[in-house]
């Protein structure tokens, strides 16, 4: 009995000795369980590809002690994801891969009661340009031919894109307004499905991000006609921009990571550090180049300003759309 007691005492002592340095380490916040890595879009689209790439880099470089578990919540133009993240029971383990519906969906659906400024800025991984694509069998090779074709079809030209009021519809609406085009618009749940239906010629044109269309472009199925970037893209040097055509418009999809509202400062610092490492990795820099994304690095304060600016811009764009 005595012996046991003594043993217990010494074990407790040993445990204390081990516990002391452990506590010092614990001040640096570390995730204690798998991280809910929510994606604002369905599987296969641009945001999804990026999320899975980031997850893979983090795993490959062993940057996290707990895995990032991708969780597609694309419903309702990302509203599903916004609700999920803003009501998360454990904000320290919930982060969100965003696109521009981060700005548009709360604007269009005030009743959701989402205030994006309550979210926690983590990292701006880059911005993704938009390109107008047609199928090679359409015979269209230039933007001028495209405009002529759409006008000739008089309202029967079909384009696909993501849900109403989302990025694709904004770009197409601007283009339609600028060139007086009457386009039939079919909403899909993600850019992957849109690209697939252009490849199968179920629809006639799309404004996919380069990453979504690249495989089909390289196989020779898709033809790029017009870019909505500020400058011509290095990977598509022959594709003119809409700016060159005399319209002061450019549009990018943000590829940013944000934390759930109410995330602790320590956790936010952890994720900011984590995604800085991902951003600086060779793989991510290579991805930016190969998928034609533009870098746009910002710190947390700059991100908040950027959000405010984007909300303002999108308010104007949506108002112009009559939303």
């Amino acid at each position: 009995m005595n012996l046991t007691k003594r043993m217990l005492m010494s074990m407790a002592g040993a445990a204390l000795m081990f516990a002391a340095p452990m506590q010092a380490v614990a001040q640096d916040w570390q995730p204690r369980k798998p991280i809910d890595f929510v994606i604002m879009a369905g599987a296969g689209g641009g945001a999804d590809q990026i999320a899975r790439f980031i997850q893979a880099v983090a795993e490959q470089e062993d940057l996290t002690t707990r895995p990032l578990v991708p969780n597609n919540k694309g419903g309702g133009s990302g509203a599903e994801a916004l609700i999920h993240v803003s009501t998360a029971s454990d904000p320290d383990h919930t982060i969100l891969v965003t696109l521009n519906s981060f700005f548009t969906t709360p604007l269009r659906q005030q009743n959701l009661g989402i205030d994006i400024q309550t979210f926690t800025p983590v990292a701006m991984m880059g911005v993704d340009p938009f390109v107008l694509w047609v199928h090679k069998d359409s015979g269209i090779t230039t933007f001028e031919e495209y405009v002529a074709k759409v006008q000739e079809m008089d309202g029967e030209f079909v384009m696909g894109g993501t849900g109403a009021g989302q990025e694709d519809s904004i770009v197409i609406a601007y283009m339609s307004g600028a060139y007086d085009l009457d386009i039939k618009y079919i909403p899909y749940d993600g850019g992957g499905a849109v690209a697939k239906d252009l490849a199968g010629q179920q629809i006639m044109a799309t404004v996919n991000n380069p990453a979504e269309a690249k495989g089909f472009y390289e196989a020779g199925d898709f033809v790029p006609l017009l870019a909505f970037s500020d400058e011509r893209m290095p990977a598509y040097p022959d594709v003119p921009t809409i700016k060159e055509m005399g319209h002061d418009f450019s549009y990018y999809n943000q590829r940013a990571i944000v934390g759930a509202p109410g995330m602790s400062e320590e956790a936010a610092a952890y994720y900011q550090d984590l995604f800085t490492q991902v951003y600086e990795s060779e793989q991510w820099q290579g991805y930016l180049t190969s998928e034609s994304l533009s870098p746009l690095w910002m710190d947390a304060a700059e991100q908040r300003d950027y959000w405010a600016l984007q909300v303002e811009n999108h308010q104007a764009l949506l108002a112009a759309l009559g939303e």
């Binding site: 798998p34 809910d36 599987a43 296969g44 999804d48 590809q49 899975r52 790439f53 997850q55 893979a56 880099v57 795993e59 490959q60 895995p67 578990v69 991708p70 597609n72 919540k73 419903g75 309702g76 133009s77 509203a79 599903e80 609700i83 999920h84 009501t87 029971s89 969906t105 269009r108 659906q109 009743n111 959701l112 079909v158 849900g163 109403a164 009021g165 989302q166 039939k184 618009y185 079919i186 909403p187 899909y188 749940d189 992957g192 499905a193 690209a195 697939k196 239906d197 490849a199 199968g200 010629q201 179920q202 629809i203 690249k214 495989g215 089909f216 390289e218 196989a219 199925d221 793989q283």
Partner: protein
Amino acid sequence: MDVLLLLADGMLLSLQPLNLVMILLGVTLGLFIGAMPGLGSVNGVAILLPVTFLVPPGSAIIFLAAIYYGAMYGGAVSSITLGIPGASTAVATTFDGRPLAQQGRASLALVTAALASFIGGTVANVLFTLFAPLLASVALSFGPPEVFALMLLAFATFVGLGGDDIPKTVFSICFGLVLGAVGFDQISGAPRLVLFDYNGFLQGIGFLVLAIGVYGIGEMLWTIDQTRGDVTATTPKMTIKGMASDTKEAAKRGWKGTMIGSFLGFFVGVLPAAGATPGSLMSYGVAKMVSRKPEEFGKGSPDGVAAPEAANNSASTGSMLPMLTLGIPGSPTTAILLGGMVIWGLVPGPRLFVDEQEFVWGLIGSFYISNVAALLINLAFIPVFIWMLRMPFTILAPMIFVLSIAGGYAATRDMFDIWLIVLFGLGAFFMRKFDYPLAPAVLAIVLGPIAEPTLRQSLLLSSGDPSIFFTRPVAGPITIIALVLIFLPAIKVVRRMRDERKPAS
């Protein structure tokens, strides 16, 4: 015969010691992941993805594909032994697997499931090997009207699923459709049917939540009610001889379902966005429709176990096809595999078969090997699974309850879903009490969210003209067959009513 040479190379590659170890490990892990309610192949592949960075890319994807395969086999285990679907792909397996187990024929159900899975996987592998590029173009030719027509066909096969009571079946389908519509409208982005303003409903009703509620909790309540806890849980014995005779019986009474599941499951799996769950449910419906003894379905028909099990394995190979050839995942699990491939520097898409021949054929070769490994490992574990059934139901019932709740929570990590599970369990119990068939509701909640957006996309394409479903070369015949199947029973009912009235008048 180039293809066969490439395939032979691929098989040799997957028989290399490292790859073979990966296959055996993956299949065994997958088997248990699949058998755990709530943990499906999606979670398994996601959790184990990091492990794969320790080995070369070729071995890594072989490992993940083996888990995927193993999980499809494993899903049947808890569906049959406990009546809780191990994964959403195995829900249809409970329809007949569970009754068989209750009749003391669990070993027959498990053997049938294993054999059907094996054949489904093999048929799919052969189709994949021979026709991959052709099938990719078939997948592309399916636009919104074609997908909707296919969904209509699936509903048509299920009108006959609920026995003879057509009105109750239709009610059950409608009930499922309404539940499937809860959440966000994909086309307009507006929330709808957010019952009682609970935020939990905004995310829609998860299929697995419904399935665990209906089949886990609901089934448990039903059994308690029927037997007052005094269950003659039958004492199944496992002998080599018994297994041999089960194999014979499975081959005799399950071959039809296996064939239907193998082919139908594959084609549904090839279509992006559909995946193995609709494939297995549709195969069950078709198997019942063409069966000479449809009345056996739902009461323990080996065909009813074979069809969904063959289909879910077949569909899991099928869903690899759009991922590899088009870069578009055919199921949630392949979406995760896709992420893995991108980081390994492999670009899925039209050029993968040309640029990365060794990788592609190594993977296809590994499908064949994994399939054989999964069959053998699964058969070896059957006695262990059977052993669980020897426990008295008074011990088993609390276990089912705990597994249902834990499994439901594991899937979404949301307390709200647990309350839903309990609610659905009670609802299912009372629906059964009043003789409402449950399977059609379960089917509707899976297919509704695919059918509805494609219907609306099609009508947008045609400016509201429904003739789009009849005039397109692929959609047309499917729609017509579906409509005939839907109205056939209705005509029967009308005739019978007329016949009944005649003598009275």
